[in-house]
Each structure stands twice: as C-alpha cells, then as structure tokens.
C-alpha cells in the first residue's frame, strides 16, 4: 500500500521530511506519533499527494508519487485540521457537494450524515455556526461518504466528545475490515495505541517503527 524509502519533502526550504522509510501493508491501522513539528501532518499530506517528494522513493496504492500525484488523490481520504468546508452553506449542502464531487451516491451521503449524528436539527445549520466538534463531524461525514481505499487522518479524535471518539474507532475498524488501510496521527496515546496495529514514531522528520 505504502512504500517510502529515504523520502524527503520540503516546505519552502525546510526539510519537513528528512528521509523517511516506511512500509505499510493493506488493512492495517498505523499510528503516527511524535512531538510537535515532527512532520506527522506533512507525512500524511505527502501520502495524500499534496506535498511534493523531492528525493527518495515514494509509492502509494501502487502509484509512484514522484511522477504522478494526481491519480492518488481521488483514492485517498484525508481528514485535515483545516476542513475546506463552505461556511455559508448548510451541513447537508456541504456534505453533498464534497461527496458528489468524489462521485459518491446520494444514499451514501445520507448514510454518512446519519452515522455522524448530523441528520437532525444540524442538517440545515450553516457550517459557520457549528461548534468545533460538530464541524469536525461534518468533515468526517464527507470523508466516509467517499469510501477511500487509504484513510489518512490527522488527529481524528481531536475535538470530538466521548461518543464521537468511540465512533471514530469503530469507523476505522470497519474500514479496515472492508479492505481499506488507515494511517492516523495522534497525541492521544491511550486511545490510539489500543486502536493501532502498528506504531511509527516520527521525530525531526525521520520515522522509526516501534516493535
């Protein structure tokens, strides 16, 4: 699924990834951890095909990121800190737009919203008026409606309440059961160490795999 060898990624002139080696198999849940500024977000964005790999090898879902980033993008789903949602559109409009852009079915859209508890009053609230956690849920709904092959989640538990956190864990387990692969970053180790099959520690732009 994912194969990196000595991958270097520059943000401006700064080597946010300074030679990352990483191999991940299908159907695994992998946790990225490490201090602030270690490069976790950058690694996830790189795997999503958003950041240019300037040196080394990088293959994701069988696609070489050095030559073709665009075809990877439609097959992964990234939950980022920034949501890209349109503040003035309602929750339902937003989920519908982003999911249908990725060619999801109408029924998937409704199912995703119901799953995240967005089917009641919140449906017609403009996204700009949501609470932090509700916003995050909207973002997650867009993601699951797309049914990506590779899930990339940047601190997926952040901002969610207890029930939301359990729901995320469950969604990720279901995704791997359905054949997808999951990579998440997190600072909440208690919960994510339990969830993950493998743990990778990032620090100073370099990855080490924990036994």
């Amino acid at each position: 699924m994912v194969h990196l060898r000595g991958a270097v990624a520059l943000l401006g002139r700064f080597p946010a990834l300074a030679g990352v080696d990483l191999d991940i198999d299908r159907r695994r849940i992998v946790l990225l951890r490490g201090p602030n500024g270690a490069g976790k977000t950058t690694l996830l964005r790189t795997l999503a095909g958003l950041v240019h790999v300037s040196e080394g090898e990088a293959v994701v879902l069988g696609v070489d990121l050095l030559t073709d980033r665009r075809s990877v993008r439609q097959r992964v789903g990234l939950l980022a800190h920034t949501t890209g949602l349109y503040d003035e559109l309602t929750v339902a409009d937003n989920v519908a737009f982003w999911a249908r852009a990725a060619r999801a079915e109408r029924s998937d859209v409704d199912a995703a919203m119901a799953r995240l508890g967005l089917d009641g009053r919140l449906r017609t609230v403009p996204v700009g008026r949501l609470s932090a956690g509700q916003r995050r849920r909207t973002s997650l709904a867009c993601l699951i409606a797309r049914r990506p092959e590779l899930w990339l989640l940047d601190e997926p538990h952040a901002g969610l309440d207890q029930e939301g956190r359990d729901l995320v864990d469950q969604l990720l387990r279901e995704a791997t059961a359905a054949g997808a692969t999951v990579i998440l970053s997190s600072h909440e180790l208690d919960r994510s160490l339990q969830l993950a099959d493998e743990v990778v520690t990032l620090s100073g732009g370099v990855a080490t795999r924990d036994s």
């Binding site: 439609q74 789903g77 990234l78 920034t82 949602l85 559109l89 409009d93 737009f97």
Partner: protein, 222 residues
C-alpha cells in the same frame, strides 16, 4: 468535465442564493460607480453623453471585479484548495463552473447597469443586436480572464490587491472593444462595431483555452 462544471456552478449559485452578497452589495456598488462618475466629471450633459459607453464599461469592469473577488473569497477558507485538489473534480470543470457562475452574475449586473445608464444619463438606445452580442462576448471574456487570474491570486491572502493588478491591463482591450462597439451601435454605424466583437471573441477563446489547460497546473503547486 461538464458534470463537474455544473456541480461547481450550482454550488456557487446556491451560495450566492443563501448569502445574497452579489444582490445586496455588488449591485448597489455598480450603480454607485455610475453616480460617482457623474460626480467626478462635470455634470455637463454633453460630456457625459459622449462618454456614456466608456463609463458604462468601466462601471461593469469595476463591479465585475468585485463579483470575481467574491467568487474567490468563497474559496478562500482554510484548506479549501487542498480539499479541491483531493476532491476528484476535474480542474477544467472547476474552471468552467466558476466561469459560468460569474458570467451569469455579470450578465445580471450588466442589465442593471444598462437600465441605470439609460435612466441616469438619458441615453437613447439603438442597435440592439450589436449591443446584446457585445455584452455576451465581453462577459465571457471578463469571466474567463477573471477566473484564470483569480486562481493565480487565490489562497495567498493578497487576493484583493493582486487580482485587479493582473486583470485590468488584460481587460483593457475588452474595455476598448466593448466601448467602441457600443459607440458604433448607439451612433447608428453597427458595421464599425463588429470587428471589435471579433477581437473580444478572440480574447474570450484564448482565456477559456488557457483556463481549461492551465487550471490544473495552477491548482497543483507545492
């Protein structure tokens, strides 16, 4: 591509429908510009009348600029660009969709300004066909060039200042062309106007083509 374009145009128009920014703010601004010009130039009838086509198009240009900025301020939310890149939407489709949405709003503005000009400056209107075709072609040219340069300026927190700088010199020929065509139409010599329409058609096609091919690389970077 067409499907994506319609999706994007639909989203933009729905957003406008919910927020009514163009209706409540851009349209009054357009009228305002007309009034301002009347202030700035001596309120001397002869001068105003002579300059009407030029002023009309300058007003369209400035208020079109606002509509364009609005069209990109919609997309300026944190992470929106990433979301679009990951969305699977065809970049050419996004481009065409935004051109369509902006173009429709521009057409509405032009009608409004047309009424404004007719009333404020009491210009008698002749040469309908030329006027209409000119307006259509100029609108497409403005929307296409504006959307292309809009994305060049987008996402850098300098949109407000960069977009006009890039856009206005490019649109100067459109300004000249549409002004001359209007003059020809109002002056009763439409045959002089058609070559200008052709020129604007060339510009419109140039920018549509540049946008369809260039939008992908532009969204690509970093």
């Amino acid at each position: 591509m067409i499907r994506d374009a319609l999706l994007v145009a639909g989203k933009d128009l729905r957003l406008e429908w919910r927020s009514r920014v163009a209706l409540n703010q851009v349209a009054p601004f357009a009228l305002l510009v007309l009034v301002l010009f009347a202030f700035a130039l001596d309120p001397d009838r002869g001068l105003l009348e002579k300059a009407t086509p030029g002023l009309y198009w300058v007003a369209v240009l400035f208020s079109g600029l606002l509509a364009l900025q609005r069209s990109f301020s919609i997309e300026s939310a944190d992470g929106n660009r990433d979301a679009l890149r990951l969305s699977g939407l065809d970049p050419a489709g996004i481009f065409l969709g935004k051109v369509m949405a902006v173009g429709l709003q521009l057409l509405a503005l032009e009608v409004l300004l047309g009424i404004g000009v007719a009333v404020l400056y009491t210009t008698p209107i002749t040469g309908w066909i030329l006027l209409l075709v000119t307006a259509m072609v100029a609108t497409v040219a403005i929307a296409a060039a504006g959307t292309l340069y809009g994305v060049v300026a987008a996402g850098l927190r300098v949109r407000e200042t960069l977009l006009p700088l890039l856009l206005l010199p490019v649109l100067a020929p459109v300004l000249i062309g549409s002004t001359r065509a209007f003059e020809a139409a109002l002056g009763g010599t439409p045959s002089e106007g058609w070559p200008w329409v052709g020129l604007m058609g060339v510009i419109a096609v140039l920018y549509i083509v540049a946008g369809v091919f260039g939008f992908g690389p532009l969204m690509e970077e970093s």
